[in-house]
């Protein structure tokens, strides 16, 4: 199928692609199929609850879901031939644990071997994202999905508490807040329509339309027809080591507070901001470098190109790496963007819950897993994407994998009183599982069960 210039039909696109849901309760169910009839029966049973991107006006659904299929899942349920299936991008076909993807993700074999889903022997075929306005609504739809899975003979992965609990959003963590205490999900691509040279255009995320930045595919043949109006989701379970993070802040705040003339409490917040590029209230260092400013907590109108010394925002601060904005890149073109639909899982850290699992349920939506998600992740693990960065072997200060061969895990924070040097950053975030899914169009989901 040739790519189309017409505007996509919102009724045919799964809702999470085009809008961030504000339902406070969510659960993410992870499955392996057993048989084709069982898998098709499962999808047919939950299809009525799939939410499209159409405007729901005042009639906000009490409960709803979206469905993702991995390449192995797609092979089970689709009518595509082997030749058709070959047309999907290699990154999607091979999956996140493959040698090719690990060149970017660098999770490390010893870590991948411990993944609770998405590694050899723990194949994921389908992920169902269920949302509810309240706990009863969520539980009602989760039960419908779980019952349909049992009826279809599916195997469900329970990633929490030694395989006994589902991956659920922890609803009492403040919305858009993560366990390290930062406001999250502040800046999303605009998803406008009609500019194929814009990495934030909807065409950079939706398959089947011309876009010169991410160039989503497949765009040809039966695979192109199947994938049109779909979008990829790099689905990750990311453990956040709050104990290590808090200890790091405490230890370093005590050391740097005298040098900077700050109280230990202020030095703690200063260090947290330097790691992230935004203060914990969300206000960006580029706009308010000396102290947080709640009025700027959702600010997105700023860049990094004027900060050529890193004096306001360190070069390898997380936000400066994962969304470089107007940073001058060493490669041609503009930096890629991702749609992020993540949420926190697990109870907040305290002395009673210290040993429990907690972190981020990461939904990273993109039109190309390699040109958007993996490219940004490679920059996170090695900050070599801009010649202005003095350390070409450095790493994202918050979420990089420190065990990556050759990585320089040091962190330099330029200040007017001389640089603050952190010899080696700890591992703050550990991947627990990954699945590369296609969020197919609603017409494609219907075609699967016909």
């Amino acid at each position: 199928m040739p790519v189309s210039n017409s505007q996509p039909d919102r009724n045919n696109v799964q809702g999470m692609i085009m809008r961030g849901y504000t339902h406070p309760w969510s659960c993410h169910l992870i499955f392996k199929f057993a048989t084709q009839p069982g898998a098709k029966g499962f999808i047919k049973a939950i299809l009525p609850y799939v939410q499209s991107a159409a405007d729901w006006g005042d009639d906000k659904p009490e409960m709803m879901l979206n469905i993702g299929l991995t390449f192995t899942g797609l092979k089970v349920v689709s009518k595509l031939t082997t030749s058709d299936l070959a047309g999907f991008p290699p990154t999607f076909k091979q999956g996140p644990a493959s040698a090719g993807s690990q060149q970017s993700l660098n999770d490390g074999k010893s870590n991948i071997d411990t993944w609770v889903f998405g590694q050899t022997g723990k194949q994921v075929d389908c992920v169902v994202h269920v949302y509810g306005m309240d706990e009863p609504a969520l539980n009602k739809l989760v039960k419908i999905v779980a019952d349909a899975a049992v009826a279809g003979g599916l195997t469900e992965y329970l990633p929490i508490a030694n395989g006994t609990k589902r991956l659920e959003e922890y609803a009492t963590v403040p919305r858009n807040s993560i366990h390290f205490g930062y406001l999250d999900g502040i800046d999303q691509p605009a998803l406008n329509w009609g500019n194929p040279d814009d990495p934030a255009d909807l065409s950079a995320f939706l398959i089947g339309y011309p876009n010169n930045t991410s160039q989503p595919g497949p765009s040809q043949g039966n695979a192109g027809v199947f994938a049109k109006d779909g979008c990829y989701n790099a689905f990750r379970m990311l453990y956040q080591d709050v104990d290590t993070f808090d200890n790091f802040l405490d230890t370093n705040a005590k050391e740097i507070a005298p040098k900077l003339g700050l109280s230990i409490a202020d030095a703690t917040e200063w260090m947290a901001a330097k790691l992230n590029g935004r203060w914990r209230d969300g206000s960006p260092l580029e706009l308010t470098p000396d102290k947080p400013n709640p009025e700027l907590s959702h600010a997105t109108a700023f860049g990094y190109s004027g900060d050529t010394t890193g004096m306001k925002c360190p070069f390898s601060a997380h936000n400066r790496v994962a969304n470089p904005r107007d940073e001058v890149l060493s490669e041609p073109g503009l930096p890629p963007r991702l749609i992020r639909r993540g949420m926190a899982y697990g109870q907040p850290f305290n002395s009673k819950t210290a040993s429990e699992d907690r972190g981020l349920i990461g939904l990273f939506l993109c039109g190309s897993l390699s040109n958007q998600f993996e490219l940004l992740y490679s920059w996170i693990n090695t900050t070599n994407f801009s010649n202005i960065f003095p350390n070409q072997q450095g790493q994202d200060a918050l979420i990089a994998n420190r065990s990556m061969p050759g990585a320089d895990t040091s962190f330099t924070i330029p200040t007017s009183k001389g640089p603050v040097e952190i010899e080696s950053l700890p591992q703050f975030v550990v991947t627990r599982g990954t699945a590369y899914c296609l969020l197919p169009s609603i017409s494609t989901l219907k075609s699967i069960v016909e």
Binding site: Q103, G217, S330, E331, S370
Partner: protein, 145 residues
């Protein structure tokens, strides 16, 4: 981290294909220099024609490179660059088993490269960890002094 790509493509045996293969080989460096320079991630790239066992003609064409960082995210830069795109497209066009569907977009290009790549990251020895950018920067600084 430096990674390898060894693109090994058996080619058709007719006279025109063999002549084209020789042309790709002879023009390779000129065709790709600008694109590889612009990428600033490729340490070396070379192309070889693999002879038939009989000694007459060529069995395959082989392109070998060593580059910084992951392969798949950076294939886009080679697809977007006219010189490197032309070189890779020319190789695909003379393949004994042509890509199906033909390579007309980035996804097709990614598949062609992955399907014909003989190497993985673990296959390669490197004497030094520095990237192309670091080496170029170091030597341009040294030259300036």
């Amino acid at each position: 981290m430096t990674n390898p790509l060894t693109l090994y493509v058996p080619i058709k045996q007719d006279a025109k294909t063999q002549e084209t293969a020789q042309g790709i080989h002879d023009n390779f460096v000129a065709a790709v220099t600008a694109g590889l320079d612009a990428s600033a991630i490729v340490h070396y790239a070379r192309i070889s024609l693999i002879p038939n066992a009989s000694g007459e003609g060529f069995h395959a064409i082989m392109l070998m490179t060593e580059f910084d960082g992951p392969m798949n995210p950076y294939l886009k830069f080679f697809w977007d660059n006219p010189g490197t795109k032309l070189a890779f497209s020319a190789i695909a066009a003379i393949a004994l088993t042509p890509p199906n569907p033909p390579v007309t977009d980035l996804t097709g290009f990614e598949n062609f490269i992955n399907n014909n790549n003989l190497n993985d990251a673990g296959d390669m020895y490197a004497a030094y960890p520095q990237t192309v950018k670091e080496i170029e920067k170091a030597f341009s600084t040294a030259k300036a002094h």
